[in-house]
Each structure stands twice: as structure tokens, then as C-alpha cells.
């Protein structure tokens, strides 16, 4: 799409599409910000290199070991199953051990995520990774997710961010983090072989479906809440994906490679199922994959994703024309994500002024780190900024993910904390920076005269940096 290049475009490319300019970035972006963005779409996404990161199966194998040891200990003292279920001291010990395993993994993963974002030369890809990780949100306020939220993002999101939506969807819904977060590993078809055996043996425990994952796939991951499904579709879909589980486990369920996706036929509700007007013959696992593939191709899904992308990259109220363009790009390419990203880059609305998006705390902290080349400390220190500004990494608290409009982030207390945080950064590293010289390098033509003047007239280097980080145009992107 040909249009006049504006002097603000390089700043928009770096700050709205990327994660914030580093000194020198705007000069590197040069005369063609669109080409700079498009070039980032070539090749594989960068991997995350950081000491101590482990794969989900490795982590869950260790977690399973904790449970097995506890159960062995119970058997050794001949504790009955009922007593074990109410053995609160024992359960607490399990939780503590799991925390000891999980917490350092979380800190390493979240720190690695920040370090990758701060050093990235392809910040558009990093932002897209953040976008999709939030679209397919898991939250660490569920204890079982804490240790694998990071590996989930690396394995299911980052790997597919430049691939097809279908592949990402399949990777996400099969990933142990999502299965655990939305309870599907325990969902059991009422007429499944396991449930029937239990009925014959007159086991009292009720075995049945948990519809959490099925509902959120339809509502949040694919069609969207107005995507034309009904409660019956949710129930039917939950039966379709009953048996989508994780290898390992204890007792009867100790099968399959620990910590990897496992289709457990004995938990699966048998039979042909109807969903959204189509019939799906039961071929075990393939039934669920067929439904997901159809969902990924649905026009409702395309529109839902296009709306969210446009909201993220253009404005809180996404312009209809841009949504339409992205929807068409998605459908015409069978959900080829780079094609959709190129349509986004080609959308004139995405380059509009004034800056329409209020940065989330994550945007704000990451862009500050990039602006100042702040060192990413080892351990929890690197994560304090996210926490104090109200967006602890991977903790959106609900499967809908973090909200994505200004009103969700620009409350009075939130703005004040941001200013206080800017001040703390100014106090700490202001002496090492010349904020007046830095300002145009970060904000380019979006730098306002008011900010330029305020920074130039500041009483100290620390205050100058505080004013730059607190400036309205640094709060936005």
C-alpha cells in the first residue's frame, strides 16, 4: 500500500509494533519502517536462551516424582485412601515441595522472557508472542501452572508465532499447561470405559465431564462469545475432548510419557457427536482434532482474532475497515499468521496519530528497560517492576487474559504508581543518562515540545530521566 511516509512512522514502528525503541533503533529503522517490520517476519522465531530452562515434560516428571514419593510413604504406613485424602499435613508437604520445584522455574522463565525482549532485534515478533500468550492465557494463580507457564509460552506459542493459527491452536490445547489450567485432564466421559468399569464396581465417586476447557476454547480461543455456539455445543465439545490428558499420573492412570500430551481412550466419551451443525464420527483423538481444525477455519474465529489484533495494534475501539481487512487476510490464507501480520502493517489505521494505545505495565516496564539498557538482574529483582505496577508476569487471573484497553490500565492509582516507578528509575540510573539527548532517540517525531522542554529544564539528571519516562508520549504507544 503506497502512502506518504510520515516522520512519526519510525517511532510508531518501534513503539507501537515493537516493545519500545533502544537508542539507535530509530536510525536503524531508517526510511522504511514497514520494511523493517516485514523483514522481522522472515525465518524462525528466536528461541529463548537462558540458563536453567527446562521442557514441560522434564518439569512435570519431577512434579510427578513428588506425588509418587508421597503415595509410597502413605502405603508404607498403610494409610487408607480416605485417610490420605484428608491427610492435610501430607498434602501440605506436597504443595510445599511442588512450590520449591516451581518457584525458581517461574523466576527463571519470567526473567528469561524479559531478557529476550530487552535484547531483541525483532521486537515485533516479541510483541506478537506476548499477544498470543495473552490470547491463550494461562495464569499462575493456579498452583499447578506456576512452573510451566514459561515453558508453555516457549513450546506452544513462540514456536508457532510465525506459523499457522491451526498449528498454534492444536499445540496450545494439547499442552499440559492448558489442560491443567482448565481442568481437562480430569474430565471423564460418563459412558467412557473407565466410568463404566467404575459403575460395575459400584465406585461411589462421580465420574464425569468438566466443561471448562471446551467452553473457553469456543468463547476465548476461537469463535468468540458471540460466535454462534450454544450450551449444547459446549457440552458436546467437552465430550469430544474428554480423554485429552497428560501422560504420567499415578495408580490406574500411570501410563504414557510423563508430562506429555496423552489421549486416554479409557476416559473418552464414545460415540458420534454433533457440534455447531456438524457431525463428528468418533475416531478417538482425531475427533477433537477435527473439531479444532474446523474451529480454526471458521469466519467467526477469523473475525474474533482480527478484532483482538486490531484492538492491540490500532485502537481500543478497533476501526471496522481494519478488522475487515485482517479478517479477509486470515480467511484467504487459511490462518497463515504472517499474512495477517502483513495486512496489519499495511493498514493505514495502524500508523495514525495521536498515539492511541495506553501502554500496559508490561509494555511500560519492557520499553523502559530497552530505552535505558537496564541490566536484567538474576532472580526476582528483574520482575519487581511488573509486580509493583500491577501486571505480574503470567498472572492475568482469568483465562480471558489481561484486558487490552486504556480504561483497564489508566486508573488514578495505576498512573501514580507508574510515575513513582519512573522516579525510582530516574533516581537510580539518571546519572548515567543524558535524558535530553535520549528523548528524540526513543520517541522520534512523537516527542512533544512540552516534554522536550521539561526534560531540558530539569533540575537534575535523575529528574530529567523521571520526566522522560513519565511523559505522556512514553506512557502510550
Amino acid at each position: 500500500m503506497q502512502r506518504m511516509r510520515s516522520p512519526v512512522d519510525s517511532a510508531i514502528a518501534a513503539n507501537r509494533f515493537g516493545l519500545g525503541a533502544r537508542p539507535g533503533d530509530l536510525a536503524d529503522i531508517g526510511r522504511d519502517p514497514r520494511a523493517w517490520l516485514t523483514a522481522q517476519l522472515a525465518g524462525e522465531p528466536a528461541s529463548v536462551d537462558y540458563p536453567g530452562l527446562r521442557s514441560t515434560p522434564q518439569i512435570l516428571t519431577d512434579a510427578l516424582q513428588i506425588r509418587r514419593e508421597r503415595e509410597a510413604a502413605r502405603r508404607a504406613v498403610k494409610m487408607s485412601e480416605e485417610a490420605a485424602a484428608t491427610d492435610s499435613a501430607g498434602l501440605l508437604a506436597d504443595v510445599m515441595k511442588l512450590g520449591q520445584l516451581y518457584r525458581p522455574l517461574y523466576v527463571s522463565e519470567a526473567t528469561a522472557r524479559l531478557q529476550t525482549a530487552v535484547g531483541s532485534d525483532r521486537p515485533f515478533i516479541e510483541r506478537l508472542t506476548y499477544f498470543w500468550a495473552n490470547h491463550f492465557a494461562v495464569s499462575i494463580d493456579k498452583a499447578l501452572v506456576l512452573g510451566i507457564a514459561g515453558s508453555f509460552e516457549r513450546e506452544a506459542i513462540r514456536t508457532h508465532v510465525l506459523g499457522s493459527f491451526t498449528d498454534m491452536l492444536l499445540a496450545v490445547e494439547r499442552h499440559p499447561a492448558m489442560l491443567l489450567y482448565l481442568d481437562n485432564q480430569q474430565s471423564i466421559g460418563p459412558d467412557s470405559p473407565l466410568a463404566q468399569r467404575a459403575a460395575r464396581r459400584r465406585v461411589k465417586a462421580k465420574l464425569g465431564i468438566n466443561e471448562n476447557l471446551a467452553r473457553e476454547i469456543l468463547e476465548l480461543h476461537t469463535l468468540g462469545v458471540n460466535g454462534g455456539y450454544a450450551q449444547a455445543d459446549v457440552t458436546s465439545f467437552a465430550q469430544v475432548i474428554s480423554g485429552w490428558s497428560i501422560g504420567g499420573g499415578t495408580g490406574r492412570l500411570a501410563s504414557g510419557p510423563p508430562g506429555e500430551f496423552l489421549f486416554r481412550a479409557e476416559l473418552h466419551e464414545p460415540g458420534t457427536k454433533s457440534l455447531l451443525g456438524r457431525r463428528y464420527a468418533d475416531e478417538g483423538y482425531a475427533q477433537g482434532e477435527a473439531v479444532l481444525r474446523d474451529l480454526a477455519r471458521s469466519p467467526a474465529t477469523a473475525r474474533h482474532l482480527a478484532t483482538k489484533l486490531a484492538r492491540h495494534f490500532i485502537a481500543d475501539e478497533p476501526p471496522a475497515a481494519a478488522v475487515e481487512r485482517l479478517t479477509r487476510a486470515f480467511l484467504a490464507s487459511n490462518g497463515d499468521l504472517p499474512t495477517v501480520y502483513r495486512a496489519l502493517i499495511d493498514s493505514p489505521e495502524a500508523w495514525a496519530q495521536p498515539l492511541s494505545k495506553f501502554k500496559t505495565p508490561t509494555d511500560y516496564v519492557v520499553s523502559s528497560y530497552r530505552a535505558l539498557a537496564l541490566p536484567v538482574l538474576e532472580g526476582k529483582g528483574a520482575l519487581a517492576g511488573f509486580e509493583v505496577l500491577g501486571q505480574r508476569t503470567w498472572s492475568p487471573g482469568s483465562p480471558a487474559g489481561w484486558p487490552d484497553t486504556g480504561a483497564d490500565w489508566n486508573g488514578a492509582s495505576a498512573v501514580m504508581k507508574r510515575v513513582e516507578w519512573a522516579d525510582a528509575v530516574g533516581q537510580r540510573v539518571g546519572g548515567m543518562h543524558d535524558a535530553a539527548q535520549l528523548a528524540p532517540q526513543l520517541l522520534g517525531a512523537t516527542l512533544s515540545e512540552a516534554t522536550r522542554t521539561a526534560v531540558a529544564h530539569a533540575a537534575s539528571a535523575a529528574q530529567a530521566l523521571t520526566l522522560l519516562l513519565a511523559a505522556p508520549e512514553f506512557m502510550r504507544r
Binding site: 494463580d141 482448565l182 481442568d183 480430569q186 474430565s187 471423564i188 460418563p190 461411589k204 465417586a205 462421580k206 465420574l207 464425569g208 465431564i209 468438566n210 466443561e211 471448562n212 467452553r215 468463547e219 462469545v225 450450551q231 459446549v234 509493583v388 505496577l389 500491577g390 487471573g397 482469568s398 480471558a400 480504561a407 483497564d408 490500565w409 489508566n410 486508573g411 488514578a412 492509582s413 495505576a414 498512573v415 501514580m416 504508581k417 510515575v419 513513582e420 516507578w421 522516579d423 525510582a424 512533544s448 512540552a450 516534554t451 521539561a454 530539569a458 533540575a459 529528574q463 523521571t466 520526566l467 513519565a470 511523559a471 505522556p472 506512557m475
Partner: protein, 419 residues
């Protein structure tokens, strides 16, 4: 900060009054002074309302078990609570209903005539998405995303003039950001504890100047400064208070702040308070467990609010509501999935309580909504309207038209408050 206040008479006066109380050196003196000030402001809207949003869909059948319903035990299986009187049993309200054993403070409040329990309550929303359900609960219409403002904010706009007198903000949101229910035209404060150091006067002034051309940021900054002053002016040192981890006291810090705002003579009169973690799809637990821990935190939180409010509790009503209920039967993972009607609470010194308000539909298969959920028999807006009209004096006409648009058919629940 001081300099700005000097230009604003009402706040300056408040500072003077609070300064006097603190100069007396005894916090109790502040309380006594406050009481007399409240009396002085008798017609000036001294009623307080706190709305607690329970995000994630509270299981009303566990929070308020209908132990007298013959189908309850069958549907709830291993999650069914033991009847009142047995060990770990539910806490008796009447011949049909009880409270979850983790709600002892609310049970005492019921005994003291300060708690109304509602059951079979639902918003007009009939689908089962949390996010749309919360949107409807907060926007006050019958459809998700029909309005960008919340009913509580619109109620503030409709308050009688006397209640607005001398108040910069009538509403406050506890948390960094303002939830939808409190968003809108009426100016509201938001507050959350900060572990960051305050800015020095000079830097703050320069940032204020820098924001002069930015209406949003300058408004937010001014609101935050005003909120900090109210919070700290009441003897709370926001910076000094440490964080609260999980557990029963997890809300203590924010509740103390809530009380600080509501006690303050010219502070806000309406507060909104968010809680999360009610989405109990798996391992919900019965008398103990996951939901029990949530309820304990809620119960402890409301008790803390009562304790911190002191005499102002007598003027206070707390409404605790959720977006929808959960399935009547437990699911395959010892939890419950998204449902429809649920329970709600109205508690406070101003409340005429000791009653359960419920047109109970029953739990037989035929009685269940879509053969799965507790059927709704009371529109949650009727509770909101009752509280806004009777407690805060919002005119019925405004309630029917602006606060809850086109809701003339939803009549307020009457006689919820002491005369």
C-alpha cells in the same frame, strides 16, 4: 500537595478538621469527632455503600446451602454440606437455608439482624461466559457491552445534591484501576497501596505541569493525590503497610483503606472492591477446601471492615454479588461448571436483616433452569435498586431510566434498611 489543596476550599477544610483530631494525639478522639461530624452532616448523605464483586461465579448452593431442599444432597453428593448442628455442619439461617461453615461472621451478623441473604438471584444475563456475565452485572443493562459505564457510577450522578456537597469524589475503587461498575462520567478515586517512594514536591509539580495538556493524565494524577491524602489523612500510612499474602487476611490492607475512605468526613461514600478466585470447576471442596478458603477470606474481610469502620458501620451497607451461579449438580471433577442463579449478601449496620429473601424455585430436575442450574427468581438489579433508593436516596425515576436503563419492570426490593 499542600499548595494545591490551599486552592480548594473543601479539602482544605477537611485537612483542618483532621489535623485537629490528630493534634489531639489520640486516634480515638478522631473517631469521636467523626461521629459528631456525621451527625452534623445528617442530611448530607452519610450513608455508605460498599459493593464487593465476587469474580468467577460464586457457587450459591455451597455458600448458602438449601439444606431443607430434598434434592440438595442428591445433587451435591460428596460436596454436600452437613446440616446445621452436625460437626462441620452448615450454620442455620432458617428451616430451609444455612450458611457455609466458613462464614461465621456473616452468621453472627444474621443473628444481630444485620444480614439479608438473597437466593435464586441472577442478573438478566442468561449465557455462561464469565466475562460477558460480569459486563452485564456491572453495566446495569440486559446485554453485554451495551454501555461503557457502570450502574454504580451512574447512581453517583443521580445522588441528591445534599450527598454531593463538599465531596470531590463520591466513589472510590480499591485497586489500581477502576472496574466497569464504577466507570463513567462521575469522578471517582482509585487507590491501592504503594511500595514505592513518594515523589518530591518539585518533581511532582513538574510532572503536573507536563500533564497540563493531557486531560486524562492530569485528571488521573490529581485524583491519585486526593486519594492518597484521604487514605493517609485518616491515620493510615499507605507506604508503611506491608503486603498481605494469601490466607484469611489477604484483603486486610485494602479493607483498611476502604474503611479509611468511608470514615473520612468528606471522603467518598461508595466503594467498590474486587475479589477473584471463585471459579471452582475442580476440587471445590465442601466444609473445607478451595471454596471454603475463599469464603473465609470474604467473611474475615467483611468483619475487618466492620471493625475498622467503627461507628460508621451503623451507616454502612455492603453488597456482595457475583456474575452468575454454578451448576446444581457437581461435575466429573468434584467441582461445578458455569450456571445461572446464585446467592447474594447485603450486610451492614444500616441493614434491616436477619432474613432470607428468596422465592425458592426448588432443585428438582423440573425446577432447574435448563435442567442444570438454579432457576432465577430475583433480578439482582432489584437488590441494587433497593439499596440505591432506600439507602442512598437515588430517585426511582433515575434508577429506572439512567442507572438501569429501561428497567421500570424491575421493582426495588423494599424495606432492606432500618428506618
Amino acid at each position: 500537595m499542600q499548595k494545591e489543596d490551599a486552592d480548594m476550599k473543601p479539602i482544605g477544610r477537611r485537612e483542618f478538621i483532621q489535623g485537629g483530631a490528630l493534634a489531639g494525639g489520640v486516634l480515638a478522639a478522631g473517631g469521636a469527632l467523626l461521629t459528631s461530624r456525621v451527625a452534623f452532616a445528617a442530611t448530607g448523605g452519610d450513608a455508605r455503600l460498599v459493593v464487593v464483586i465476587l469474580r468467577g461465579a460464586l457457587d450459591g448452593l455451597s455458600a448458602v446451602p438449601p439444606y431443607g431442599d430434598a434434592d440438595y444432597g442428591r445433587l451435591r453428593g460428596e460436596l454436600a454440606l452437613a446440616p446445621p448442628g452436625s460437626s462441620d455442619g452448615a450454620l442455620r439461617l432458617d428451616g430451609t437455608f444455612a450458611l457455609h461453615p466458613s462464614l461465621p461472621f456473616l452468621h453472627d451478623a444474621y443473628g444481630a439482624g444485620e444480614l439479608v441473604v438473597f437466593h435464586a438471584v441472577a442478573s438478566p444475563y442468561r449465557e455462561r461466559s464469565h466475562f460477558d456475565g460480569q459486563d452485564v452485572l456491572e453495566n446495569g443493562t440486559v446485554r453485554p457491552h451495551a454501555l461503557q459505564s457502570g450502574w454504580l457510577n451512574r447512581a453517583l450522578e443521580a445522588l441528591p445534591e445534599a450527598a454531593r456537597r463538599e465531596r470531590k469524589e463520591l466513589g472510590v475503587a480499591l485497586g489500581q484501576n477502576v472496574p466497569l461498575v464504577m466507570r463513567g462520567q462521575a469522578q471517582v478515586a482509585s487507590w491501592s497501596p504503594s511500595r514505592l517512594a513518594s515523589l518530591d514536591e518539585d518533581t511532582l509539580q513538574r510532572i503536573t505541569d507536563l500533564y497540563a495538556a493531557d486531560p486524562l493524565l492530569s485528571q488521573r494524577l490529581a485524583d491519585a493525590l486526593a486519594a492518597d491524602q484521604i487514605a493517609s489523612g485518616d491515620g493510615m500510612d499507605a507506604k508503611a503497610m506491608g503486603g498481605q499474602a494469601g490466607g484469611a487476611g489477604r484483603y486486610t490492607e485494602l479493607i483498611r483503606a476502604t474503611a479509611g475512605f468511608l470514615r473520612s468526613d468528606s471522603g467518598p461514600r461508595v466503594a467498590v472492591f474486587d475479589t477473584i478466585g471463585w471459579d471452582t470447576h475442580a476440587n471445590e471442596g465442601g466444609a473445607r477446601g478451595r471454596l471454603a478458603a475463599q469464603l473465609t477470606a470474604l467473611d474475615t474481610g467483611i468483619k475487618t471492615l466492620r471493625d475498622e469502620l467503627g461507628p460508621a458501620w451503623q451507616k454502612t451497607a455492603v453488597i456482595a454479588v457475583t456474575e452468575f451461579g454454578r451448576t446444581a449438580a457437581i461435575n466429573g471433577t468434584r467441582g461445578t461448571d458455569h450456571g445461572t442463579a446464585t446467592a447474594a449478601f447485603l450486610v451492614g449496620g444500616a441493614v434491616r436483616g436477619g432474613r432470607v429473601v428468596a422465592d425458592w424455585p426448588g432443585l428438582s430436575n423440573r425446577a432447574l433452569y435448563e435442567q442444570r442450574d438454579v432457576a432465577p427468581t430475583l433480578d439482582v438489579r432489584a437488590i441494587f435498586k433497593g439499596a440505591l433508593q432506600e439507602h442512598l436516596g437515588v430517585p426511582v425515576r433515575a434508577l429506572d431510566a439512567q442507572v438501569f436503563p429501561d428497567s421500570g419492570g424491575v421493582k426495588p426490593v423494599k424495606d432492606l434498611f432500618r428506618a
